[in-house]
């Protein structure tokens, strides 16, 4: 039994430990916003956050996230309650095919949480792990700048993940 939290909800799952987190999120839990792109951590389409840090869920065995806090695109914001990064994505018409964008947004929110006012160069370096085949990079750059300004203006603070939440006692024993 593996236990971890996804977007604040505790998951207790009986899955093979070597299964990549990506497939557990998509096929076991049913959160399909996170995408499969390469299976080798090369493209970033599967990016989620573990305790606020971006990770490639396609090459992270689910056993390694026991007791951790996972955030997926579904936990970032919804249509009715958009995260400033998502709002900026919409305002700048970032997505084309849209397939990589969940991963892009997961990297972008992690970037802004750790560096609220990144330079153009810092954005480019940080986002270099996420491939977009449609070439939305110029708009991602603009949207991150825009979100950065909006978040500073409104004092938007990421709800900080609970880094060491208590595991349920029956799992610990």
């Amino acid at each position: 039994m593996i236990e971890f939290r996804v977007n604040g909800n505790t998951q207790r799952l009986d899955v093979e430990g070597d299964t990549p987190l990506l497939w557990v999120l998509r096929d076991t839990i049913g959160l399909t916003g996170t995408k499969f792109g390469c299976g080798m951590g090369l493209c970033g389409a599967c990016t989620v956050q573990m305790n606020g840090q971006p990770i490639r869920s396609c090459s992270m065995p689910v056993s390694a996230i026991h007791g951790q806090e996972i955030t997926t695109i579904e936990g970032v914001g919804t249509m009715d309650d958009l995260h400033p990064v998502q709002q900026a994505w919409i305002d700048e018409n970032v997505p084309q095919c849209g397939y990589c964008q969940s991963g892009q947004i997961m990297s972008a929110t992690a970037l802004l949480a750790s560096n609220p006012n990144p330079s153009d160069d810092e954005i480019k370096q940080y986002m270099a792990g996420n491939i977009c085949r449609c070439g939305t990079y110029p708009r991602i750059q603009k949207a991150i700048k825009k979100a950065s300004r909006a978040m500073q203006r409104t004092g938007f603070a990421e709800s900080s993940p609970n880094l060491n939440y208590e595991l349920a006692t029956e799992v610990q024993s």
């Binding site: 093979e16 070597d18 299964t19 990549p20 497939w23 998509r26 096929d27 076991t28 049913g30 959160l31 399909t32 916003g33 996170t34 995408k35 499969f36 792109g37 390469c38 299976g39 080798m40 090369l42 493209c43 389409a45 997926t72 695109i73 579904e74 914001g77 919804t78 249509m79 958009l82 998502q86 994505w89 919409i90 018409n93 970032v94 997505p95 084309q96 095919c97 849209g98 397939y99 990589c100 964008q101 969940s102 947004i105 954005i123 480019k124 370096q125 986002m127 270099a128 996420n130 491939i131 977009c132 085949r133 449609c134 070439g135 939305t136 990079y137 110029p138 708009r139 991602i140 750059q141």
Partner: protein, 735 residues
């Protein structure tokens, strides 16, 4: 359904001569007599594209798939404009496979060739105009006034004289009984409220919240997951397999042999993948077992020697031009096979039952998908229901339906609803590739610096020879399956007569746009047995590199500025000149800062002219493209921001190919496998892209592909300026 009798050419003539509101004489059957229209279960089906419910919610059946290029927004905008409602209020649904949704330019329900807006331009606006006319008639009936006295705005019919208005939803009950008038008036472009102005992508909210459903996100109750092991050698087949270990692997339900290899079916994707790793297969490598990229190009060169090819252009006297030239230059160019590398790997959900088959797939050709499923089941085309989804990148890859055939065959053989997912390695190594090509060129310049002769021999396969097997039966849905091969053979044998001619090998080369006295363009057919397909901008993707690359060579040889050299040869082509002039002005051509080198190219494809200036900085054997200037004339830009985004997209797609794109074959196997060795441009390498759109009142032309072709030749010339090295092979490498 409307039966519009005007041909597109007639329409263009009309639209150029008509002043004010454009009246189209159309033969419209009354709504009620069309078997597809009328009210069903509280929903009014106005025609194949528009539905409305009693609450007034307009639903648009989008028949050109959304794969990033913007049909979801663009075509909806056409409907919204004529219907006089805000595009964001329309609910977009993906159209099923149906002959009514055939792309009028191809006779197939496919999305490709950058023609979605141009081919839907009349169709969808007329659909909107018909519904608007019905609403106006209904209001006229309610108010007992002539419909001509009524106007529409924001989803309402207005009678200005009496200051009355009714929402479309209020008129629903009356409107469903109305017939479409025999003549429809389309809006005067001066009155456009959304076309040319609307700048918001309607799918951006879904795609920014992870809620857009792609093919790979499809969930069907009881479905199992499948992966397929295919022969690593192109065209190889299964000799023998042992499924014992695979079947013993956790979660594996079945192992079945299918046409393309061995399928492993399990409760989850990961279990299927692990089961496949345990599978033991012995392959019959077939006739391509020793094929290599080198052998392909050797074959091409041999063919070039043996066969001077079919003439595609023969003007003036090329022999005399080349023998009398003051300066005669020859060159050989080549371009490699390329994979499409859509971000969403190929996938399909199929559920084959006794009397029906359901297909959920990210496909660019729903009716071609029907054929693929019909071939591997006992079902006929009308028993196959294709549910299209958002598509995670197409670029031509999903015109081929190999993944649909596999999923349907696995479902038929296992009796289970199946979700088939290709790995990235499957996707890279079993793609249907952009053809590799080889080119011989020769050109002459006279003593006074004029280009007097242009000779180009192209050697490559024909895409149609491969695609016809998938597509021909979809064009003849009445044909029994035993005729499928005959139809394909007839398509090949009757190319240009019975079937459309395949221009893909020489498009962009036969249309050589420069005013040169002697022009000789010839095509030599060669096919090395590697499956080939349409790849964003198709023949233009390699031919622009060759034609424009050699034009730059000739300009330098004649000691002329590449811009002036071209401009002098384009005097009668105002559209091309305008694009060229604009891009050099934008780029401050010829005045690049120290350490920055510029290159220029111009190309016409899919109805649009595009010129680009590339700025590059070189350090040793490394280069970085800092900036790209791009100007397009695509007719009327229905959504200017999407035109901008497609130019950005085209530039980055082309730069990826120019810098990294190469599929190599060794021992019949594709060498590259994933993004480490088939690299994509990343954000830290992305240039600044400066774009301008030439204002135009002409009907819209292509934008999805035309941004691709000029980049590589412009970059090659910028690298020449920087290093003195003339690169004639893609990808462009200085080492």
């Amino acid at each position: 359904m409307m039966d519009v009798t005007l041909s597109r050419r007639q329409f263009f003539k009309l639209s150029m001569t008509a002043s004010g509101g454009l009246v189209l004489a159309t033969q419209l059957s009354a709504c009620g007599t069309d078997t597809h229209s009328g009210e069903k279960n509280g929903v009014w089906h106005a025609d194949a594209w528009v539905k409305m419910d009693a609450e007034g919610q307009v639903k648009f059946l989008l028949d050109r798939v959304e794969m990033g290029q913007g049909t979801y927004t663009g075509l909806t905008t056409l409907l919204a404009e004529e219907l006089d409602i805000d595009p964001s209020l329309i609910e977009v649904q993906f159209a099923p496979a149906d002959t009514r949704y055939r792309n009028p330019d191809y006779g197939l329900q496919i999305t490709g060739g950058s023609n979605s807006l141009s081919s839907s331009w009349d169709q969808i606006r007329q659909s909107g105009a018909a519904v608007r006319a019905v609403m106006t008639q209904a209001a006229g009936r309610v108010w007992q006034v002539a419909p001509e006295e009524c106007s529409t705005m924001d989803g309402r019919v207005v009678h200005a004289a009496t200051q009355r208005s009714l929402n479309y939803s209020d008129l629903y009950a009356v409107a469903v009984k109305e017939s479409v008038p025999n003549s429809l008036t389309l809006k005067d472009p001066a009155d456009f409220k959304y076309i040319g102005k609307h700048n918001q992508r309607l799918d951006a909210p879904l795609k920014s919240t992870g809620t857009a459903d792609f093919g790979i996100d499809t969930v069907v109750p009881g479905m199992a997951f499948a992966v397929v092991s295919r022969c690593p050698v192109i065209g190889g087949s299964v000799k023998h397999f042992d499924a014992t270990a695979a079947l013993a692997s956790a979660g594996v339900k079945q192992v079945v042999e299918i046409t393309s290899g061995i399928a492993v079916i399990a409760d989850s994707y990961w279990q299927a993948r692990k089961g496949l790793n345990a599978l033991s297969v012995e392959w019959d490598e077939g006739e391509n077992a020793s094929l290599s990229t080198q052998a392909v190009f050797e074959q091409y060169k041999q063919m070039a020697d043996q066969d001077e090819g079919d003439s595609r252009r023969d003007e003036g006297d090329i022999e005399s031009a080349l023998s009398n030239g003051d300066l005669v230059i020859s060159a050989e160019y080549q371009a490699p096979f390329l994979a499409h590398a859509t971000m969403e790997p190929q996938n399909c959900v199929a559920h084959v039952q006794a009397d029906r088959c359901d297909i959920w797939a990210p496909t660019q050709g729903p009716d071609v998908a029907q054929v693929a499923a019909a071939k591997v089941t006992d079902l006929s085309l009308d028993q196959i229901f294709v549910h299209t989804t958002f598509i995670g990148g197409g670029f031509g890859r999903r015109l081929s339906q190999d993944f649909v055939a596999e999923a349907a065959e696995i479902s038929a053989k296992t009796g289970l609803p199946i979700k088939l997912i290709w790995s990235r390695e499957d996707d890279t190594q079993h793609d249907i590739y952009r053809p590799a090509s080889y080119h011989r060129l020769k050109a002459a310049v006279s003593a006074d610096g004029k280009l007097t002769g242009w000779q180009h021999q192209l050697v490559c396969p024909k895409i149609l020879s491969w695609y016809v097997w998938d597509a021909a039966p979809a064009q003849f849905p009445w044909a029994p399956k035993f005729m499928y091969n005959t139809l394909a053979n007839a398509g090949i044998a009757g190319e240009g007569v019975l079937a459309p001619e395949d221009h893909s090998p020489f498009e962009g080369a036969e249309s050589y746009p420069y005013a040169v006295e002697s022009v000789d363009v010839r095509y030599t057919h060669a096919d090395a047995g590697v499956p080939v397909s349409y790849w964003r901008s198709v023949g233009h993707s390699q031919n622009a590199f060759v034609v424009e690359g050699f034009m730059n060579e000739m300009a330098h040889a004649a000691k002329q500025d590449p811009y002036q050299f071209r401009r002098n040869l384009l005097k009668d082509n105002a559209q091309a000149v305008a694009v060229l002039d604009k891009v050099v002005a934008l780029a401050n051509w010829g005045k690049a800062p120290k350490g920055v080198h510029q290159g220029l190219a111009l190309h016409y494809s899919f109805g649009s002219w595009v010129a680009q200036v590339v700025e590059v900085a070189v350090e040793g054997t490394q280069y970085q493209v800092n900036r790209v200037y791009c100007v397009i004339d695509c007719g009327l830009a229905v959504n200017p921001d999407i035109v901008h985004s497609q130019m950005e997209s085209g530039v980055i797609f082309a730069l990826t190919a120019a810098k990294y794109g190469q599929i190599d074959i060794e021992q019949g196997r594709v060498k590259q496998s994933n993004f480490h060795d088939y690299q994509m441009l990343r954000m830290n390498e992305c240039p600044e892209i400066v774009i301008d759109i030439i204002p135009s009142a002409q009907p819209p032309k292509g934008v999805g592909e035309p941004g691709v072709p000029p980049l590589a030749p412009a970059l090659a010339d910028a690298l020449f300026s920087a290093t003195g090295k003339r690169l004639r092979e893609l990808p462009l490498s200085l080492s």
